[in-house]
């Protein structure tokens, strides 16, 4: 099945949903100002034809549910929001559902079978033919949660074994620390990584509280390090590995390495993978019978 028909199916469904007033808005993708793809919010049937689906649809749209939260009426005039999700995005949906951030009946999920997103997607003139690293590693080509599935399910073999992560793990600790410090130094504290993250939904980030004794406003390497480590830990067992934080970082910090490391340890310690199903993180639940930490 070609991408062209996937796009048509999405548009058809979006039209139906808007026409029947089942949803008030469809969150999808459209062409941007310079040939790239960008998030789109379709409120009117006339605009549905601007929806696109291709290998440049990199954004995790689940992030935007944060803004929409609380805008739903509770009565009979419940109008839902339709959202287009890739398999990775759908896992973020599961995390938000488990944490009661959204109600299942408030969203209509259009799941798209994804064959991978290309490098440089979302930025003008930077798209390449190469798949993003996260897509090469992804065996999950079918969304884990959807109301409508678009595309034929496939289950590719994955060959990637996280070379970047194992290389870093093999470094001597002091070198690894130096590596990270060098990365943090570049950070400009624009908080794009936090803003783009579907898992970061606190109304006031604890690293931005008006409290200079806790986290200073200085853009020093210590503050940056505390922010990135704190954020990574807050996302432990919740990060679904969409790597959007790394994509949006203007300073190209390898933030996904931290997240992947924690995901790997969560898998090893708790046999849990965030987003597989709408279940609570093991860090928020009791020990199972016979389970013991520190082991």
């Amino acid at each position: 099945m070609t991408e062209f028909t996937l796009q048509d199916q999405i548009r058809d469904r979006a039209k139906q949903l808007l026409a029947s007033e089942q949803v008030k808005c469809v969150i999808g993708y459209e062409h941007g100002s310079r040939g790239q793809v960008r998030p789109a919010f379709i409120h009117q049937i006339n605009d549905v034809d601007s929806l696109v689906w291709n290998q440049g649809c990199t954004h995790n749209l689940v992030t935007y549910l944060r803004d929409i939260k609380g805008t739903f009426g509770s009565d009979e005039h419940l109008q839902r929001v339709a959202i287009i999700v890739k398999p990775c995005d759908s896992r973020a949906l599961n995390v938000l559902l488990a944490e009661k951030q959204i109600e299942r009946e408030h969203i209509y999920v259009i799941g798209v079978v994804c064959t991978g997103i290309v490098e440089g997607a979302g930025y003008a003139g930077q798209s390449s033919d190469k798949l993003q690293t996260r897509c090469v590693r992804c065996s999950d080509r079918v969304p884990v949660i959807y109301d409508l599935l678009v595309g034929e399910p496939t289950h590719p073999e994955i060959t990637d074994d996280y070379v970047d992560l194992t290389e870093l793990e093999a470094m001597p600790p002091a070198e690894r620390a130096a590596f990270w410090l060098k990365q943090y130094e570049r950070c400009i504290l624009c908080y794009a990584c936090r803003q783009v993250c579907p898992g970061c939904y606190c109304s006031t980030c604890m690293f931005e509280r008006d409290d200079s004794l806790w986290v200073g406003i200085a853009a020093g390497v210590k503050e940056k390090e505390a922010f990135h480590l704190g954020r990574a830990y807050h996302l432990a067992a919740r990060c679904i590995g969409c790597d959007e934080c790394e994509r949006v970082c203007p300073m190209e910090l390898p933030l996904s390495l931290l997240n992947h490391k924690l995901a790997k340890e969560v898998q090893r310690l708790f046999h849990y993978c965030a987003g597989d199903e709408p279940s609570q993180s093991p860090l928020a639940t009791m020990l199972a019978e016979g389970e013991e930490f520190p082991a």
């Binding site: 941007g32 100002s33 310079r34 790239q36 960008r38 998030p39 789109a40 919010f41 954004h59 992030t63 935007y64 803004d67 979302g122 930025y123 003008a124 003139g125 060098k182 990365q183 570049r186 400009i188 504290l189 624009c190 908080y191 794009a192 936090r194 803003q195 783009v196 006031t204 931005e208 200079s212 004794l213 200073g216 406003i217 200085a218 853009a219 020093g220 994509r247 949006v248 203007p250 300073m251 190209e252």
Partner: protein
């Protein structure tokens, strides 16, 4: 205009790096940034635009403006000092940005002493752009890829070397003792993009309440990238940070740090009220600041057209597109005012 060969330039830069703090485009983990260099070899000469603007040099992302030391009942205040700095390889848009910051911080009384002190010790040696990038629009904002106005010295690449255009006395003292020859011929004109038209500042308020801003902001992530990369965005926050605290001795730094109107809590006042409560209002402020508030206050645009925000925005909020949409919306509203049947508003 004088001429300097590539070799002579390298020697000169090496000497400058030795004598003062030389800031130049340098690769840091494959990202081009204006940073201090220790020799000419580190400098990248073949580039279009560093990721961050040179704003960082004149207005650091976080700078102590006062050191407070308290010993018993005695309080002492120290002001920071700054040494001589030369920025080499500055692009005209970045120099334009610094000129705009100058008008804000030292252009009118009372002047900002910290800024003035640092700026005084900075010399700008520019490098003309041979051509504009696809997302550059400096020509629409009153700049040119080879505009010498805001520099002390501007170099323009010619065959085998650079044409040296000395603009100010500060630049002359730097260049004079190099004994440069007169240049033969003129450097080539840069390749420029089509000029965008900007809606005149007095018309912007007509679109203040337009639904356009809410629609535009739907995809905004509310990060501060655009403001932090911008050569002109200059909002800051001041806080005291405790660096040492004891019973009889304590130390505080008064810090000035970048802030951005796109952030959620930028406008929050005591008691928790946020006058700019919606994302649309916050994003609107960014564009109104550049194209209305700034021109009203200082008589020129608050954007220099470097295109950094266009390149970096992960959700494609494109300032050029906004300019076009706003012009179109204004024109449409003019027509609809003339004929009441036509549709009002922006269709974007």
């Amino acid at each position: 205009m004088k001429y300097i060969s590539r070799e002579a330039l390298q020697t000169w830069l090496d000497r400058l790096a030795n004598d003062v703090t030389l800031i130049a485009p340098r690769l840091v983990d494959d990202i081009l940034l204006y940073q201090s260099v220790s020799s000419a070899r580190e400098i990248v000469l073949d580039y279009t635009r560093p990721k961050m603007s040179a704003k960082e040099v004149v207005l650091p992302s976080s700078e102590p403006i006062l050191f407070v030391e308290k010993r018993g009942q005695e309080v002492s205040l120290t002001e920071p000092s700054s040494g001589a700095q030369i920025i080499f390889g500055l692009r005209p848009c970045d120099a334009h940005g610094i000129a705009v910051l100058d008008t804000v911080f030292v252009g009118q009384e009372p002047i900002d002493l910290n800024y003035a002190r640092r700026r005084e010790a900075i010399t700008l040696i520019g490098l003309s752009c041979p051509q504009m990038r696809e997302d550059c629009f400096c020509t629409s904002m009153g700049g040119m890829p080879n505009d010498p106005t805001h520099f002390d010295v501007l170099l323009t690449e010619v065959e085998d070397g650079y044409a040296v255009n000395t603009v100010t006395d500060k630049g002359r003292t730097l260049v004079d003792h190099l004994n440069l020859e007169e240049i033969k011929g003129e450097p080539a004109e840069p390749i420029i993009n089509e000029t965008e038209s900007v809606l005149a500042q007095e018309h912007w308020p007509d679109l203040f309440a337009d639904h356009y801003w809410d629609l535009l902001a739907e995809r905004c992530l509310e990060c501060r990238m655009c403001a932090y990369l911008c050569p002109v965005c200059r909002c800051f926050d001041v806080q005291d940070q405790v660096t040492q605290q004891g019973i009889s001795y304590s130390k505080y730094d008064r810090l000035r740090c970048w802030d951005s109107c796109t952030g959620t809590n930028y406008r929050v006042v005591a008691g928790g009220h946020n006058p700019r409560a919606t994302k649309g209002q916050r994003l609107r402020n960014r564009f109104f600041c550049k194209f209305h508030y700034f021109p009203v206050e200082y008589d020129h645009s608050g954007c220099v057209g470097c295109g950094r925000c266009i390149e970096a925005c992960p959700v494609n909020i494109d300032i050029v597109e906004v300019m076009r949409d706003i012009s179109r919306a204004f024109n449409a509203s003019q027509i609809s005012n003339a004929s009441p049947d036509a549709e009002k508003g922006v269709t974007a």
